[in-house]
Amino acid sequence: MNRMEMLKSKGKKIVIYLMAGDPGIKETEDLIITLARSGVSLVELGIPFSDPIADGIVIQKAGERALNRGVTVKDCLDIVKRVREKGIEIPIAAMTYYNLIYHFGPEKFVDSALKAGLDGAIIPDLPFDEEPKFYSYAKKRGFNLVYLAAPSNTRERAKKIVEKSSGFVYYILQKGVTGSTKSSIVGFELLKYLKKLSKLPVFAGFGISEPSQAKEILKTADGVIIGSAFVSLCEKYGRNKSILLKKAEMFVKKFLNV
């Protein structure tokens, strides 16, 4: 079954990004379970990469912490496998950079990911028109590749992104990297255009840290993606798992209640 289909149901969606292995593998598993039970619609599981060019400092540092603990692609797939074994059914998509997938073996990655229970991947440095073989293989196997659209995209390119994307469309709300502090969210016009074009849900991310921002964006988008703000929480409370899980639950609640 394609769990990503669940995203098409009515209602505003909250998506949370967390870095696999930060603060630890076991904590990541428990966090995913907590997030799923708290009402999150999709979990984006960051696979740490040494050179994350599209990420801001908060996620970069989380990646460094995870890499210092030796977290690998296989570890991340194992996390997914274990949470599936525990009955978690919300969609989970990996977010990582293409070198890791290429190195793992693109087809092997798709097969192993599906076997583990991962539903798709978001790869910021892999536009839909690079690596057509990988694209075809993922499509054939029903592995969702979620493409990102940016405010700077032309309408023509945005249209292609929507056509090629599966699961959902990821709209980047601002110029810059994840968690940018600039307060101005840009490109509502293109977001509206994507909404009009897309049969898939359109989720917006990059720079959302407050429920008030989410409320505003949810007037247009089908869902919001929160990354750095949640990763900061993991950094702050990572030493004490029970507090971290409690804080994670409260964090999600704040966003769900907007």
Binding site: L100, Y102, G176
Partner: protein, 393 residues
């Protein structure tokens, strides 16, 4: 076959593995570059600055003592005599002229050894642009003289503290800056790496080296050389020298990578010799990485070669066997450095010393003609060399 193809691929290598935010900008850059290339006034302006500001053509010097030592005819392409002391200025002139045409007033760059940073700061000063240069903290320490030069030229040097604190991390930070300031900022990439069209564009700007060398050797010897030798970090001086000779199949192209402490130690920067494909900084190319696909921290005595990737066109030349690649260790490079000082009275950059040192490894015949690219001068490396020689490190 057009190289690169319209997607920026040199055979299996290259591409535009770029975040979507950059896409429009890269497409725009590509269009503007194609337009500029066809515009005679762009070429005229580029040639003007190369001649009267950079001081081109750089001499092709017959190195008599080296020739005697190695029993062949050795010529040195003297890029070290360019304004700012390295080949880097050729490319920055080209890119700043393009930035000017595109109406961009803010320039960013990344630098390892500082030569590209100095060249960028120079052209930014010349054309009244604001300039921020990203440089790894580790490189700032070993290239303090170049940091000071950039500051004198009015650039801001931004230390990069992430990762290995060297060139690759400076590239990451510059890319992040670009993502944020995509509207007003032109990113002058210093080598033949990165997203398409950079590898092609930098190659074209640097190919002035090979064009001149070709003409000069024909004048001097009446025939083409047997060998071209150049060091390879990202590979811009090598591509610049090689490119105009690509179709001359009898001219052997040799790229010399940084062997660091030795290939077996894992502490090196020889990505082509290591022969593993990956995706780094927007291009598919040979990349040094761990068994899990994480980009490796590299080592080289020369900050300019200390980079885990290489330009995609060089990967292509290696795979198609048009060029041959080998590695020279830190120790051998230092010997090359000393040899150049004593034999020819030239203090070469540690990068260039790798190419010079390779002469020792070549089995040359008397009739052989070799051109070695002296890509830059060694003033910036004096502190490093001092501590290696005097400190006995």
């Amino acid at each position: 076959m057009r190289i690169p193809d319209n997607k920026g691929f040199f055979g299996d290598f290259g591409g535009k593995f770029a975040p979507e935010t950059l896409r429009a900008l890269l497409d725009d850059l590509e269009r503007n570059y194609e337009k500029a290339k066809k515009d005679p006034s762009f070429k005229r302006e580029f040639d003007y600055y190369l001649k009267f500001y950079v001081g081109r053509p750089s001499p092709l010097y017959f190195a008599g003592k080296l020739s005697k030592r190695f029993g062949a005819k050795i010529y040195l392409k003297r890029e070290d005599l360019n304004h700012t002391g390295a080949h880097k200025i050729n490319n920055t002139i080209g890119q700043i002229l393009l930035a000017k045409r595109m109406g961009k007033k803010r320039i960013i760059a990344e630098t390892g050894a500082g030569q590209h940073g100095v060249a960028t700061a120079t052209v930014a000063a010349l054309f009244n642009c604001e300039c921020d240069v990203y440089m790894g903290e580790e490189d700032i320490k070993r290239q303090s003289l170049n940091v000071f030069r950039m500051e004198l030229l009015g650039a801001r040097v931004i230390p990069v503290t992430s990762g290995s604190k060297t060139l690759k991390d400076a590239l990451n930070e510059a890319t992040r800056d670009w993502l944020k300031n995509v509207d007003n900022t032109f990113y002058i990439i210093g080598t033949v790496s990165g997203f398409h069209p950079y590898p092609m564009m930098v190659r074209d700007f640097q190919s002035v080296i090979g064009k001149e060398a070709r003409k000069q050797i024909l004048e001097a010897e009446g025939r083409l050389p047997d060998y071209l030798v150049a060091c390879v970090g990202g590979g811009s001086n090598a591509m610049g020298l090689f490119y105009p000779f690509i179709n001359d199949k009898n001219v052997k192209l040799i790229g010399v990578e940084a062997g660091g402490l030795g290939l077996k130690t894992g502490k090196h920067a020889a990505s082509i010799v290591n022969n593993e494909v990956g995706i780094l900084h927007g291009a598919k190319t040979y990349v040094l990485q761990t068994e899990h696909g994480q980009i490796t921290e590299t080592h080289s005595v020369s900050a300019g070669l200390d980079y885990p990737g290489v330009g995609p066109e060089l990967s292509y030349l290696s795979k198609t066997k048009r060029a041959r690649f080998d590695a020279i260790t830190d120790k051998e490079a230092l010997e090359g450095f000393k040899m150049m000082c004593r034999e020819e009275g030239i203090i070469p950059a540690l990068e260039s010393s790798h190419a010079c040192a390779y002469l020792e490894k070549m089995k040359l015949k008397k009739k052989d003609i070799v051109i070695v690219n002296v890509s830059g001068r060694g003033d910036k490396d004096i502190n490093t060399v001092y501590s290696l020689i005097k400190g006995g490190k």
